[in-house]
Structure formats: structure tokens, C-alpha cells
């Protein structure tokens, strides 16, 4: 994090499209761990994720589960809760330090 002498005054953002640099997942206390063997690519987790933290990718004409973007995942656990095959487990962040 920058100090007060190194940031533009008045909170001005002096270049466009910097929202991607704003990582909103830093205060997460749990993270989703996906068991790819159980996953059926039903994409319910992708659909319900409130922050687009769960990625999807097109494999031909079919959607497949991508990576979890932990910069934005708040650890809310909605993905794990909606998964019909229990392929997602929420694990404490402390396990990853």
C-alpha cells in the first residue's frame, strides 16, 4: 500500500480502468476448493457467485468450470452451498498461509 505522499490528491484516479487493480477479496476467511473429479460442470456455482470470482470457459459449445479468482472471492460460500454434487469445500484461509 502507498503512503500519503505517493498517491494522487483528492482521491483522483488518474488513469482509466483501474478497477481491476482493486482487489476486494483480501478480507476473505474461507476459500472454495473444487474437487474436479466430482464436478459435473453444471455451472451452478458460476451462476450464483455474486462477484464473478468463479470463472467459466467455453469448451466447444459447452461451458466448463474455470479457475477461482481469489483476488475477488469474498469466501461467502454460496458456490459450495449450491453445488448439487458437493464438489466444493470451503476451507479456512489459515490453511493456506
Amino acid at each position: 500500500m502507498k503512503g500519503w505522499k505517493d498517491i494522487p490528491i483528492g482521491g483522483v484516479i488518474d488513469k482509466p480502468a483501474t478497477a481491476r487493480e482493486y482487489k476486494t477479496g483480501e478480507w476473505r476467511i474461507q476459500r472454495p476448493i473444487i474437487n474436479r473429479e466430482k464436478c459435473t460442470n453444471c455451472m451452478q456455482c458460476w451462476l450464483y457467485c455474486p462477484d464473478m470470482a468463479i470463472g467459466g470457459r467455453l469448451d466447444g459449445k459447452k461451458m466448463k468450470l474455470g479457475e477461482v479468482n481469489l483476488d475477488y472471492c469474498k469466501g461467502c460460500g454460496v458456490c459450495a452451498a449450491v453445488c448439487p454434487v458437493n464438489a466444493i469445500e470451503m476451507k479456512p484461509e489459515s490453511e493456506f498461509i
Binding site: W4, I9, G11, D14
Partner: protein, 389 residues
Amino acid sequence: MPVKLTVTGAAAVAHAMRQINPDVVAAYPITPQTPIVEYYAGFVSDGIVDTVLIPVESEHSAMSAVVGSAASGARTMTATAANGLALMLEIVYIAASYRLPIIMPVVNRALSGPINIHCDHSDAMMARDSGWIQFFTENHQEAYDFTIMATKLAEKENVLLPVMVNLDGFITSHGVESFEMLDDGVVREFVGSWNPKYSLLDTKNPVTFGPLDLFDYYFEHHRQQEEAMTNAYKELPRVFEEFEKISGRKYDFLDLYKVDDADYIMVVMNSTASTAKYVVDQLREEGHKVGLVKPQVFTPFPKKEFQQVLNGRKGVVVLDRAMSFGKEAPLYSLVKSSLYEVASRPSLGSYVYGLGGRDTTPEMIREAFEDVLQGNLIADEQRYLGLRE
């Protein structure tokens, strides 16, 4: 050649604005400020200035409009008083935090309630922690001069803070008096052109004003505002010096009247200083060593200057035209705290006067002086001038 104009204080301020010719002025009427924006609307409709005048539906909108305008890079002004300032206040803080050099004459008036439209300083004191630079002016000449100097100071790259130029409601704003108006060209050259670092209209260098600024950077931005105030304090002597070159009028943080050998000093702001100077003259004739200190710059508070001038005096009385309920009166508390570290502290007295336009007579001023002359001061006692018991 400068000309003498004999007009109201509101017209004097409007003439300063006319000579500065800001890009945008937001106008909303409120007594006793209304004649300023009225005169200015006249200049706009007569084509004397090329300002875009925005008539808005409230002071909240006026301040919002000037924030948007200043963020777009336009030189921007508005004016208000009392409850108008209160309605603006939410955006007043934002203007300072976004570092927008807006200039706003504030025609000091009592805040309700009960309803009162006359002069006191409760409106300015309400906004004293908003991050605006605050000047206080005694008469037409000072209101005119400080409006011009405010523009110069606010736009300095290491300052970039909005400025309130305070003048007393009705007494200064509506009273007719002579003042010396500089040539249009001289003022135009003094304030120069305004080249903002950031502009919402600069599509080649797009910027965002007013992002979410939570616990991660808000604190740092407020530290920057404090630094800008420190810079304003450092830049002010230069502004005073440059202004003296074009006007011959010498200003400083504090206006000192007969203080050199004074044992007893009164501190009072704005138009009441004129009455107090009259009383100082009378007391001097009677052989009393009295003097007067009138702060012209209230924010950034000239603490060091107060220490220098008040250290070693026998007694100091501070007159406030506002109350700070349950606490010491605002000017008094600042003067008192600045004296904490001086080698020889004077005895101190706090006097509240003139609330809601209550007339302040030489006799009342004399009453405060007599207390200090007789050594009858209690630092923790707030006294009242002209209050019926």
C-alpha cells in the same frame, strides 16, 4: 488607475468576482448574501463577464454544481450565508476533500433557530473543520481584496483548497462605504489563468473524481489535506507580498492595531474590529496601554503569530460572535490553546457578543477592556457583552 467606488460590500465583492471573471458561478439567493449573486447575474446578463451562471434550486445544489464545475477544470465561485451554508455543508466537506479551489464569499449570519437573519459568525464556525481556508474581513476594501487573494492562493499547485471569504451580514454586505477598486487588467494579471492538473473534460487523460475511499486510503487523503493547509500557511505571506505590489495595501495573518507597547490586547474579528479600534483610541487618550489584534486568516490558524504577539502581555480578551455550546467559544479556545507554550502567559478573558445581529456599542467593548485593565479576568468564565440578565 484604481478608482474609488462607494457601494455596498456585496457590490464590492461582486466587482472582485467580475474582475476575476470565473468560468462558472452557481447562484442561489439567501439573505444577506443575495445581492452578491444578484449583482453578478447583472454582469452576466449585460455581457460584461463571460461566466456561465447556474441558477439552482437550493444551496445543496449550488455546492454540488460548483464541485462538478471545478472538477471539470473551470474556475468556479458561489456565495452563501448561514442556513444556506448549513444546507451546503455535506458537499462543502467534499469540495475540500476533492481539492477543488472554489471561492465562496460567506456573508456571516446567525444560524437558526429561532429564525434570525442578522450578523454573527455561527455559520462560519459551523464550517471551520470542513477543510476550507477561511478569511475574515473587516470592511468593503478587505472583502474585495481577500476575494482576489483567495483566488490566487486556492489555485496554487501545492495548496488546491477551497476558500471562504467571510464578511459581516448587513454591516458589511449592505452598508455603503468607499473602497478602492483596482484596474480590471491588474486583477486579471494577478490571478492569471487557471490550468488545473486534472479535468473531467480532458478526454485524452481521463480521470475519476470521488471514488470509494474506504479504510485503505481515506486516512492518507486527509493527511494530504493537512499538508495543503500547511502549504497555504507558507504561501500566504507570498500572496500578501504580491498583492501589496499591485495595491499598496499590506496584509498579514493578523492585523495589529497599536499593539507595539500594549499591555492589554483585545482579539476580535471582522467589522467589530472597527468599533474596537475606536475604543482603543479613546483608551489610549486616557493613558491606557491597549491594542487590538484582528485575525484575517482564521484557517490555517496563525498560531505562531498569536504566540509572538501575545507572549508577555498582561491581559488578553477574546471576543467571539458565536457560541460553542458546552465548550469554550471558538476563537477564544484557539487563542487560549496557542498560548499554552509561551514563556509568559497573559491572563485571559472570553466574551461572547453580538449574536443574531445584537448591536455592539463602544460601551460594550469598553466593558471588556475595563475588566482586563482592572485585572478582573477568569480564564474559564465565559462572559457576555450586551446580554440582558
